[in-house]
Symmetry: C2
C-alpha cells in the first residue's frame, strides 16, 4: 500500500490478497446495538465476528442507566401492573412527535408495533425487570424499581396528541447505572451463542468492491493488520461522535461550550466515517440530547425558567432534555430557574446549579441579577396570576405543577450552559432503513452495509423530543433488525 | 460496468481504459465560483475545461443581486468616496462574528487582508461599480448605485466589536438582478482566456485511484459518457443543495415548511455528494440563510417583532437574515411585526406579509390576535417606555430606530414562516482549506480535489451572522484561490 488505511476511504477488494478470517456477519462495536445485532445474527445460525476497539464490552450503553423506552400493544407487564393500558397508536404518535420535523415514520411504525415483543425479547435474554412503578419525576430510579415517566408524555403539547403513559423501563438494579447490568446480560448471551469476539481490535477501513459493495473490514488486532471477510454483511455499531470535538465543532458547534459529553473514547465518529467512506449519508449531524437534570427535587418543576431578558420560554414539566434544547435556543448565555421558599430545594450537587440571587421580593431578585425593571418580575407576576387560577396560558404547564411563586424568600438559580452540568450526546449518524441497511444521499442501498445505535440516525433525531430510554430502545431494537436481516443475505 | 455511475461512488482509475479528453484543471459548474476558478487557472497558463450541467452559465449567482461583501485595507474606492475608512481588523472582527460559533479563522483572515485586492480584481475583469453610496436600509439598490449597508454592521452586538462600515457592493446595473451582469462579465473573461466550456455536461462521478486521489471526472455530454482527465485538479463549484428537498429534510428540516428556496435546479447537492464520495467531509449542513425581507420600507425597522407569546426577541435593526434566523428559533409558528400609524408602511407585495390585526389600542390588537391579556401589550408598553428615553435595554436597537409605538391605529403584521416570503438557501458543504483543497473529517487532504461556492462551507456558515454579499464574496474569492492553487499542482 502506498498510503495507510483510513476510515475515510475504503480498501479496494482487489487489494486484499488473502482473507485472514472469514465470517458471515461482522459486527463493529460491542455496545448495546452491537450485542443485539450479534445475538440475532448468531441466533439465525450464521458465523458472527464481533470486533471491539477497546479491551472490554459495554461502550456508552454500559455508562447509562439502562432505561429502555417500551410500550404499546396494551402495555408491557410492568405498565399493566401499574394500571396503564398503552395503546400502540399513542406510542406511535408520541414517537412521531419526539422525532421532530423529520421523524422516521417507517422506523416509528415498526417500533410502535413491536415494542412489546421487544420487551419480551429483552426478558428472554435475561434482563431483569421488577414489576414496579415510581410515579415521581426523576432522572432514573436509584432503587431497583422499573417504570418511570422518562419523557414529556404528560407535558404539553405531547399530552394533547398522545394519551400519556410512562414508558421508561430500568433494569432491576440497585442505584444508578443499570446500563452495566444490561450489557452484562447481553454480553453473556453473545458469549453463549458462540459469537467470536475480538477485543482491542480497531477497524481501520471497510473493504469494498468497485460497485461499492462492502465485503469485509481491515482491522488492527494485536498490533497487526488483518483482513476479515463478511459474506453477508458488516454492521457498524461503533457509537456516535460526541467525543470527537473537532467533529462536534464542524456539525454541532452549539455544544462546544460545555464540558460534559456523555460517551466513551470510542464515540469518535469513526463508525459514521466508515459508512460515509462507501457512500453512506450522515444526517441530522447537528442534533443532540442536551440535558439540564434539574429534577429531582421534583418540587423545582414548580419553578419557572427565564432567559437573560427575564422571559419565560418552556413549560417546566417537560422532559429535562427538551428544556436543555430550549435553553440553547435562547439568545444569550444566562438562564435562570426561579423558585420561592415553598418550592425551593437544593438541586443535586453534581448539577452545578448554583444560587445566582436571593431576595424578599421578585423586584429585588431582578435587580440583583442586573435585569431591567419590569422584566423578570413582570414574568413572575404574569405566571403567578394565572397559576393561582390553575392555568398557564403561554406554555400550558399541567395544573399539578402550577403554584404561584409568592412565598419569600425568592431565589434565582444559575443555569448557564457554559457552567452548569449539561450532559450531552449526538443524534446524527448514517441514514438507514428499518432493516439497518445504510442508505446513500439518494436513498439507494449501500450493499453489504448496516448501521445501528448512535452510528446511525434512528428514533432519536431531535433534541426537542428526546426521552430517556429512546436511544437504548433504538440501539437494541434496530441492532436486532440489522443482525436478522444481514443473516439472511447472499 | 455492472452498476451505473453515481455521484455517491467514485469511478476507479483502473476502470478508465481511455481518456476522452485531457485537461490540467476541470471546473465543475459555471456560476460565480466556477467562473472565478476558471479565470485564475487559465490566467496561470494551464488548460482548463469547464463543465456545466445546464445549457447556460450563471447558476444561482446570476439570479442574485450581484452584491459582493468587500472592504478592509482602508476601504474600497467606493467606501472611501462615501467617507468610510474600513480597517482590515474591523472587517476581520465582523466576519468572525458573522461566521458564528465555528467561524473559519484562516479564511476570514485571508479574506479580510485581501478583500480590497479582490475588489480591484473584479474591476479588472470588467465588473462596473459606480462610486455611490445609499445610506438607507434596503435589500439591494433598485438604481445603479453601489454601496449599501448589507448586514448587521450598525446593529448590536456587531457594532460593539467592529466599527461599522457599509460593505455591500452592487454592480452598476439598473434594477434588481445585478448578478446576471456580474456573470456576463465573468463569463466573457472565461471565454477570452480560452477556457473550454461544455454546456449540457453533467458530471456523473469523480475518477479516483486506490489511494483516494482524484484524477478526473466521468461526464455525460451530448448523450454519451466521456472520461475527462485533470492532471492538476478538479474544482467542484456546483452549488448547494437547497433544491434537493430530500437533502433539506435530512439536514435542515426547519426549512421544509417554506416554499421559497433560492436556487436553480443545479443546487441539487450533487457537488457536495461528489466530494463526499472520495472522502470529503460536509459540515454545517443544518445552517442556512433564511430571510424575511421586511424592509424597505425602512420605517418598519422602527416596529418590533414579537413571537406568538407576545415576547420580543431581536433588535429589529439587525440584518433581515439574522431576524429570519431568530424567527425560526421561536417556539410556535406565529410571529408578528408591530407598527403604529407613524411607522407603518405597507411591505412590498412579494413579501406576503399581511395584516393580522388592527386596533385603536395595543390591548385591542392583543385581543384580536387571541393572545392572553398582558402579553403583547405589556411588551409594547415596556418597549415604548424605554424607546421614549432613546434606550432599548433588552436588545440594544440603535437610537435612530427607537420611537414609541403610540400613535393609533396600531397594526400587527403576519410573518408566519409557512406563509410569508422567506427566501432561503443552505450554507453547508465540503470542508476546505483557504486554498480550496477539500478535507476529510480528520482534516486530511483529498488529493486532487477542490471546492468553492456553496458546494463548500465557506465564510457564510451561520444563519445568525450572514450578510448580503458574503456568499458571492466567498464564491468569487475562494473560487480564485482554488483555481490558482490547482494550476500550480503536479
Amino acid at each position: 500500500m502506498s498510503v495507510p488505511f483510513s476510515v475515510n476511504r475504503p480498501c479496494r477488494l482487489n487489494e486484499v490478497s488473502v482473507w485472514d478470517q472469514e465470517a458471515d456477519v461482522i459486527v463493529v462495536g460491542f455496545g448495546a446495538a452491537g450485542a443485539s445485532a450479534a445475538i440475532e445474527a448468531a441466533s439465525a445460525g450464521v458465523r458472527v465476528v464481533l470486533l471491539e476497539a477497546t479491551s472490554g464490552n459495554g461502550g456508552t450503553s454500559a455508562l447509562s442507566g439502562g432505561e429502555i423506552y417500551l410500550g404499546g400493544s396494551g402495555g408491557t407487564p410492568v405498565q399493566r401492573e401499574a394500571g396503564f393500558n398503552d395503546d400502540t397508536e399513542d406510542l406511535y404518535r408520541y414517537l412521531m412527535m419526539a422525532g421532530g420535523p423529520d421523524a422516521d415514520e417507517a422506523k416509528v411504525r415498526l417500533y410502535a408495533e413491536n415494542s412489546l415483543d421487544h420487551y419480551h425479547w429483552l426478558v428472554a435474554q435475561g434482563v431483569p425487570y421488577k414489576n414496579t412503578f415510581l410515579p415521581e419525576k426523576m432522572l432514573e430510579p436509584v432503587t431497583d424499581d422499573c417504570l418511570i415517566w422518562s419523557g414529556s408524555e404528560e407535558a404539553w403539547p405531547f399530552a394533547e396528541e398522545a394519551t400519556p403513559c410512562p414508558r421508561g423501563h430500568a433494569p432491576q438494579y440497585q442505584g444508578w447505572g443499570g446500563g452495566r447490568l444490561l450489557m452484562d446480560v447481553l454480553a453473556a448471551r453473545v458469549s453463549e451463542l458462540g459469537v467470536e469476539v475480538h477485543y482491542d481490535s480497531r477497524v481501520m477501513a471497510l473493504v469494498a468492491d468497485d460497485d461499492g459493495k462492502v465485503h469485509g473490514v481491515v482491522v488492527r488486532s494485536d498490533g497487526r493488520l488483518r483482513f476479515v471477510r463478511a459474506s453477508k454483511g458488516v454492521i457498524l455499531c461503533a457509537g456516535g461522535f460526541v467525543m470527537n470535538r473537532e467533529m462536534v465543532r464542524s456539525h454541532a458547534p452549539q455544544l462546544m461550550h460545555n464540558e460534559n459529553p456523555i460517551g466513551t473514547p470510542g464515540d469518535d465518529g469513526s463508525g459514521i466515517q466508515l459508512g460515509i467512506s462507501v457512500g453512506g449519508a450522515a444526517i441530522h449531524m447537528d442534533e443532540a440530547f442536551v440535558s439540564l437534570p434539574f429534577y429531582a427535587p421534583e418540587s423545582l418543576v414548580k419553578g419557572i425558567f427565564v432567559n437573560e431578558r427575564g422571559q419565560r420560554f418552556i413549560n417546566e414539566d417537560s422532559y429535562h432534555g427538551r428544556i436543555g434544547y430550549h435553553i440553547l435556543r435562547q439568545g444569550g448565555n444566562r438562564v435562570f430557574l426561579l423558585a420561592d421558599n415553598a418550592t425551593f430545594e437544593r438541586p443535586a450537587e453534581f448539577t452545578r446549579i448554583d444560587i445566582a440571587a436571593v431576595g424578599e421580593t421578585w423586584d429585588e431578585v431582578e435587580q440583583e441579577l442586573g435585569m431591567p425593571e419590569g422584566t423578570l418580575a413582570a414574568s413572575v407576576a404574569f405566571f403567578n396570576r394565572h397559576a393561582a387560577e390553575g392555568r398557564d396560558p403561554l406554555f400550558h404547564k399541567a395544573a399539578k405543577w402550577l403554584k404561584p411563586l409568592n412565598e419569600p424568600p425568592f431565589v434565582a438559580l444559575d443555569c448557564r450552559f457554559d457552567y452548569a452540568f449539561f450532559p450531552h450526546f449526538t443524534f446524527g449518524g448514517l441514514d438507514t432503513l428499518p432493516t439497518g441497511q445504510v442508505l446513500t444521499a439518494r436513498r439507494e442501498l449501500v450493499a453489504g452495509l448496516y448501521a445501528a445505535g448512535r452510528t446511525s440516525c434512528g428514533l432519536p433525531r431531535w433534541g426537542g423530543g428526546y426521552s430517556s430510554g429512546m436511544s437504548l430502545a433504538d440501539a437494541t431494537f434496530f441492532g436486532r433488525q440489522a443482525g436478522r436481516h444481514a443473516a439472511t443475505q447472499g
